[in-house]
């Protein structure tokens, strides 16, 4: 009986909080009415945990823009919240919002959280956002997650952020040329392609062929 009462109180409180949050943020009006309360509760949960709530709102709005049904949006946010928690556990309480978001993406794409912790150790005094973003991007490109993590960890001590982006472009280019993603990452690490300076920072800027 006590359990039921507690559950009812919790649900009522969540609904109250959700309604309050929804009332405060006009962006919630773009959400399906069936999703608003649950999304608001998840956003509030993230805020209370000190996690970047904006990331959840963005994901919900992405679902709304794509006219996804409410259960799918709620499932996506639940997963994202869990991944953000995982990223913070791996990166530490001092992790910045961009680091947490990139770390959550990496985890979502299969990178083990332990790789995030090792990256923090290796680059203890530098921002991890770009390195984590590249790690996630490589995994999204089809590089096996453990290989993507290994490649970034191997370069973490020596590359600057701009060099990490050059490395990512090199892998991307090699994959487009037909290389197996794992081999492309391995090759780019070994050949040092990532340190080729480029004048343009755009993802589609091409790196001219080079000698090993």
């Amino acid at each position: 009986m006590t359990t039921l009462r507690t559950a009812a109180l919790t649900a009522a409180l969540a609904a109250l909080v959700a309604a309050h949050a929804a009332a405060q943020d006009p962006r919630f009006e773009r959400l399906d009415t069936g999703a608003r309360a649950a999304v608001a509760a998840l956003v509030d949960s993230a805020r209370q945990s000190g996690l970047p709530a904006e990331a959840l709102i963005d994901r919900a709005l992405e679902g709304a823009a794509k006219q996804a049904p409410a259960p799918r949006i709620i499932a996506a946010l639940t997963t994202l919240l869990a991944n953000l928690r995982g990223a913070r556990a791996a990166l530490g309480a001092a992790a910045t919002t961009p680091e947490l978001e990139a770390g959550a993406s990496a985890i979502h794409l299969g990178v083990p959280p332990s790789a995030l912790t090792r990256l923090r150790t290796i680059r203890s005094r530098q921002p991890l956002t770009i390195a984590l973003s590249v790690m996630a991007d490589l995994a999204a490109r089809g590089v096996p997650p453990d290989s993507a993590a290994a490649a970034v960890l191997a370069l973490a001590a020596s590359l600057r952020d701009d060099q990490f982006l050059a490395f990512r472009r090199s892998v991307e280019r090699d994959i487009e040329l037909g290389a197996p993603p794992a081999a492309a990452a391995s090759s780019s690490v070994r050949l040092g392609a990532g340190v080729v300076p480029t004048s343009s920072g755009g993802p589609s800027s091409s790196i001219p062929p080079r000698r090993p």
Partner: protein
């Protein structure tokens, strides 16, 4: 090459008369010039120095080999390998073998690969040939990251006059990379010439590419201590040692100590990257739209190339509100938005149609039944 070496002592007759053989040390140094051509890279010349040594005592063999490569760019690559093999006494036609290898390679100042493998093989010997099955376990380390290695091999070999042939099939798991190779190897000796070749196919693969590869070499002995060595071919990705597929031709001299050893092929593994064009994953569908993203000073300029009358983007940088792009020339559209550093998601819509992932971004499944493009902002 490792598989070939695995049955080499048998081909030399060691199992038949192990007790009669005294310990023997042989060595050679190869000085080679090579041309390597990596797909997507410029061709490069390289010079190599490859010392090798073998010590045999009864049923035990120890090999050590190293290669240092100097590319024309001035970069240097090095690798080393130590391999040991011990056969058990014969039990009828059966014989066991324990083998182990340890290797390392490095390129410039980047993280090196190291691997340590152990293998157990069971040989069945028949007149003029034999078969063996083997299991390999080990570890490969890339930088600070290690991955387990597991492999299983079934092989058969035969000796016909001056030629030996072997065929094998090997299934290998390296972390989450798996592949199966079918290969055939042959060696033919006549007078002062030794020819050997390898032909293989990566029939099945996950993350290690597929395709056909082959290598050939010729060793022409000029004197008992001097030989010319010619080699060329294409080799497959080896995730265990961190080398990827490539092509090469090489020529050089071999200076031999004590007695001419078996031919040592120019080891292309140390030359690192090149790729099988035919080994690629399925080509991605052609995107009807592509995008260039240039970031500077806290903003991103998005330039979309598409044949449309109206182009919109939606992204986390726009709060997933569709943003209409301004025309900027023929089939070119642009908009500049404020951004923060990090990993971002974006879709493009043409003429009010479906949300697309434009070429130029990394496509990934979103959680809503479609796809979204990733891009990184510094």
């Amino acid at each position: 090459m490792r598989r070939w070496r695995a049955w080499l002592p048998l081909a030399l007759g060691l199992p038949a008369t192990p007790a009669l053989l005294p310990s023997q040390l042989t060595g050679a140094v190869d000085l080679t010039a090579a041309n390597v051509h990596y797909d997507g890279f410029l061709p490069s010349f390289a010079a190599s120095l490859s010392p090798a040594a073998r010590w045999q005592q009864g049923l035990f063999t120890l090999d050590a080999r190293a290669t240092v490569l100097w590319f024309e760019s001035g970069n240097t690559s090095s690798q080393g390998l130590v391999a040991a093999s011990a056969f058990t006494p014969a039990l009828g036609r059966w014989r066991g073998e324990l083998a182990a290898t340890a290797g390392a390679s490095s390129y410039e100042r980047f993280a090196s690969y190291r691997d340590a493998l152990s293998a157990v093989r069971i040989h069945f010997l028949a007149p003029g040939g034999g078969v063996w099955v083997g299991a390999t376990l080990g570890l490969t380390v890339f930088g600070s990251d290690s991955r387990p290695v597991r492999a299983a091999t079934l092989a058969a070999w035969t000796v016909r006059r001056a030629a030996t042939f072997t065929a094998s099939i090997t299934a290998t798991h390296v972390g989450d990379t798996t592949y199966a190779d079918l290969s055939g190897l042959g060696e033919w000796t006549r007078g002062n010439v030794i020819l050997d070749g390898a032909l293989g196919a990566r029939m099945w693969s996950r993350f290690a590419g597929r395709g056909v590869y082959g290598e050939a070499s010729a060793v022409v002995a000029l004197r008992p201590t001097l030989a010319l060595v010619f080699a060329g071919g294409r080799y497959a990705t080896d995730p265990t040692r961190g080398s990827v597929a490539g092509r090469y031709v090489s020529a050089g001299v071999r200076i031999v100590g004590l007695r001419p050893p078996r031919p040592e092929r120019f080891d292309p593994g140390a030359l690192s990257a090149s790729f099988h064009r035919g080994a690629a994953a399925a080509d991605p569908p052609a995107a009807p739209v592509s995008i260039e993203v240039t970031n500077a000073g806290g903003t991103c300029t998005f330039v979309v190339h598409a044949a449309a009358t109206q182009v919109e983007i939606a992204s986390d940088v726009s709060g997933w509100q569709p943003v209409l792009l301004a025309p900027a020339g023929a089939d070119t559209w642009t908009v500049t938005l404020p951004v923060t550093p990090g990993l971002h998601r974006l879709n493009v819509r043409l003429d009010g149609g479906a949300w697309l992932v434009p070429g130029g971004l990394t496509p990934v499944a979103d959680e809503f039944g479609g796809s979204v493009g990733l891009f990184v902002v510094r």
